[in-house]
């Protein structure tokens, strides 16, 4: 599969990357690991005229720990995170999510920033241009109907980031840099809930780092996928707990994970919570397993995560 014509530029600083983007008239794409972007370009799902390589920006790499927070550079690879003592010792939710993301070789290339900013996926969207032309373009491609639901004019593509589910349960914030300067916001704020445009980022903005509140946490991550060795999630979930309470997140169904505050983990309350999760999830037939199965697994994952965290605590 060959790439369409595009230019390549390597940025040495955030300013340089933003300058390249500005000059491209919005036709450029930022490029870190490329494990999500390059396949999309090959499938002609994205058609940038320029890719701007961010790997040369040193300030975007690394994991720092202070008493108040953990700061993770957006270009830190998933493999580096997985093998970091800081992450393994203090943030089991994130560690488990890293270990279950893709396979080891792609973990060495894929970055945390790229992972959380991956576009939504659908069985009827992530296909070659020939396949999509033959079928007719779906709603996300600019057509009028959603093929997964048999004709509705709404998109149901799934946001398949495992790290995002874990980071949401950890109450993460993002530091975003653009031509107008730097801003900091809750991760949840940039998720629009619209599968056709999943992120509320201004044109040309770059996620520079991810900030996780400090302290040691208890938690767990669960993921269901067809092949254990490498696959996108059919559904995933994360639970993180500290002295003040917990946060349960169930993702990979629809374009925005469901987030629940958990005050107590008594058996009766967990049962009610799992029923709420079951009722909230609205999967459609856009993966390789039935939506009913994914919905039921939401309930199972919620209970399993809290049980696992209780045992680890």
């Amino acid at each position: 599969m060959i790439l369409p014509k595009l230019d390549y530029k390597k940025a040495k600083s955030l300013e340089e990357a933003i300058e390249y983007f500005e000059k491209s008239n919005g036709e450029a794409a930022y490029f870190a690991g490329g494990t999500d972007l390059i396949p999309r370009i090959k499938l002609r799902l994205r058609t940038p005229s320029l890719v701007i390589d961010l790997k040369g920006i040193e300030e975007m790499v690394g994991i720092k720990k202070t008493d108040e927070m953990y700061v993770i550079g957006a270009n830190t690879t998933i493999f580096e995170l997985k093998n970091s003592e800081i992450i393994r010792e203090n943030l089991p939710t994130l560690y488990e999510a890293c270990a279950q993301t893709s396979c080891e070789v792609l973990q060495m290339r894929g970055t945390i920033g790229g992972n959380i900013l991956q576009d939504t996926r659908c069985l009827f969207y992530n296909k070659s241009l020939t396949w999509r032309r033959a079928k007719g373009f779906c709603y996300k491609m600019g057509g009028n109907v959603c093929h997964a639901t048999g004709g509705k004019n709404v998109c149901y593509a799934n946001y398949s980031s495992d790290l995002a589910t874990a980071l949401l349960s950890l109450g993460s914030k993002l530091v975003i840099v653009g031509k107008d300067g730097q801003r900091k916001c809750d991760f949840e704020e940039i998720l629009t809930g619209k599968p056709e445009k999943p992120f509320n980022l201004r044109q040309g903005e770059i996620v520079k780092e991810i900030i996780i509140p400090g302290g040691k946490r208890q938690g767990a991550f669960e993921k269901i996928r067809i092949r254990g060795s490498i696959d996108y999630p059919l559904i995933n979930g994360a639970f993180t707990m500290d002295s003040k309470g917990g946060k349960l997140v169930v993702g990979a169904i629809g374009s925005k994970p469901c987030v629940y505050s958990v005050e107590t983990i008594e058996e009766e309350r967990v049962k009610i919570l799992s029923e709420t999760v079951f009722n909230d999830l609205k999967p459609v037939n856009n993966t390789v397993v039935s939506p009913v199965y994914r919905k039921k697994m939401g309930k199972v994952i919620a209970i399993k995560l809290i049980e696992k965290t209780k045992k680890g605590a």
């Binding site: 599969m1 060959i2 790439l3 369409p4 014509k5 595009l6 230019d7 390549y8 390597k10 490329g34 494990t35 390059i38 396949p39 090959k42 499938l43 890719v51 390589d53 790997k55 396979c103 080891e104 070789v105 792609l106 060495m108 290339r109 254990g228 060795s229 490498i230």
Partner: protein, 155 residues
């Protein structure tokens, strides 16, 4: 779009080429340098048949632009043979029958080599974890794992 000049080292040999900005490392290796060991199968990073080692890390060469590897040190399956002797992994794959159709073999061996480069005595689960990055459609995984284990036991 004009070709751009790039230099890197492949199997201990320095090369300087003019490549298209949208050319993948796999295309450069196979079509310009005629190193056809790395294979293209899925072309999307899922199968691992195109795995080569860049700066001691295994990578999917179908997902990398050649312009990214300026000054890098690249190892491919063709560079494993030293002074006429096959690499222990290549020997073990032959002896243990870890090759069926052979299409995944270069990628499998390069992934295994990168594992042994960073951990000379991996246990079985570490071998499986590393090898699971690559697909073998003949489903010959058991023999492949045995071959890697064989090399570890001899080292």
């Amino acid at each position: 779009m004009r070709n751009r000049k790039i230099s890197f080292t492949v199997n201990n040999e320095k090369v300087t080429l003019h490549v298209r900005p949208y050319e993948t490392l796999l295309e450069t290796l196979r079509e310009r340098l005629l190193l056809t060991g790395a294979k293209e199968a899925c072309g999307l990073g899922s199968c691992g048949a195109c795995t080569v080692i860049v700066n001691r890390k295994p990578v999917r060469s179908c997902l990398i632009l050649t312009l990214e590897v300026e000054d890098a040190i690249i190892e491919t399956i063709e560079g494993l043979k030293k002074n006429g002797n096959l690499h222990p992994l290549q020997k073990a794959f032959m002896e243990k029958g870890a090759v069926q159709c052979g299409f995944c073999t270069p990628g499998m061996i390069m992934t295994a080599k990168s594992l042994l480069d960073r951990n000379s005595r991996p246990n079985r689960s570490e071998i499986i974890e590393a090898i699971s990055s690559n697909l073998c459609r003949c489903t010959g995984y058991k023999k492949i794992i045995e071959a890697v284990e064989d090399v570890c036991s001899k080292e």
